[in-house]
């Protein structure tokens, strides 16, 4: 059986980094929107 362990690890690192990176991007976007909305409502008051 060929030793392809490093490629297996590399493959799953790429998959996890991209998926969790996108989820993290959405999470940060949500926090940014909430913060800006709060700032605007304070400005309005």
């Amino acid at each position: 059986m060929p030793d392809t362990f490093s490629y297996f690890i590399a493959g799953y690192i790429v998959i996890f980094v991209l998926i969790f990176g996108y989820v993290w991007h959405l999470f940060r976007l949500k926090r940014k929107i909430n913060r800006q909305r709060e700032e605007l409502s304070i400005e309005e008051k």
């Binding site: 060929p2 392809t4 362990f5 490629y7 493959g11 790429v14 998959i15 309005e44």
Partner: protein, 238 residues
């Protein structure tokens, strides 16, 4: 009836559980293929990513048709979210495929019909995102996006059938006689669990992204209104 927020939360939790479960199946349940070794296990998430990419572009075309019929911006938000997620999974598919190809084909990349068509598909939707960002007027942008998503969908069957109709070195999983690749039962079970998990992940991300897009638009309207109010106050003071 569940509220929209509750539905999204439940779907997200389910997606996370299924994703972890699918990964555990890949690691502990699916056997190691004798000719390729461990790298064959990349195939389960590689194929699932390819499936979600194509499903997302199909859904984008469907949302495009729904927008053109109903002229409701809700469909435009779903369309844009679907393309974004589809592109993410297409990139995952391409990169994981390259990593698999290096030890198996002895090259990172070759201009095989399947690899070429999937690249064309990815660039079609990268162009979509760039063009969409350059448009400000919401209804014009939605109209453009709907038409682009419907026409752009041509690249999906082109990619899917390229490995079946043209001479290719890319493995075909589902051929005319069912499952063509030499997969045993545990491998097939892992593959279908991964496909199911990625499908649920897609719908969870789609709803989350569309909801955030709606919040972004509401914030933009609120900001505009605040600026207009401030201008009026300035003029009144003057």
């Amino acid at each position: 009836m569940l509220s929209e927020n509750k539905t999204i939360t439940i779907l997200s939790i389910l997606a996370a559980i299924l994703f972890v479960f699918a990964f555990f199946m890949v690691i502990f349940y699916a056997p190691i293929e004798v000719n390729m070794g461990l790298v064959q296990k990349v195939f389960y998430f590689h194929m699932s990513a390819a499936w979600v990419g194509m499903l997302a572009f199909l859904m984008a075309a469907v949302f495009g048709i729904l927008y053109l019929v109903h002229k409701d911006l809700k469909w435009d938000r779903l369309l844009a979210s679907s393309v974004e997620i589809g592109l993410l999974f297409t990139v995952i598919c391409i990169l994981s495929g390259m990593i698999w190809a290096r030890p198996i084909w002895n090259t990172w990349w070759t201009w095989d019909p399947r690899l070429t068509t999937v690249t064309i598909m990815a660039f079609t939707y990268i162009a979509f995102i760039l063009l969409r960002r350059s448009m400000d007027e919401p209804s014009k942008r939605a109209q453009f996006s709907a038409i682009y998503a419907i026409i752009g969908f041509v690249t999906v069957p082109l990619t899917f059938f390229s490995a079946r109709l043209l001479r290719t070195i890319h493995p075909i999983i589902f051929g005319s006689g069912g499952v063509d690749m030499n997969l045993n039962q545990p491998m097939l079970t892992t593959m279908f669990i991964s496909l199911g998990a990625f499908t649920v992940v897609y719908f969870a991300l789609l709803l989350q992204r569309a909801r955030l897009m709606q919040a972004e638009e509401a914030l933009m309207r609120l900001r505009l209104q605040t600026e207009i109010d401030a201008d009026w106050e300035d003029q009144a003071d003057a």
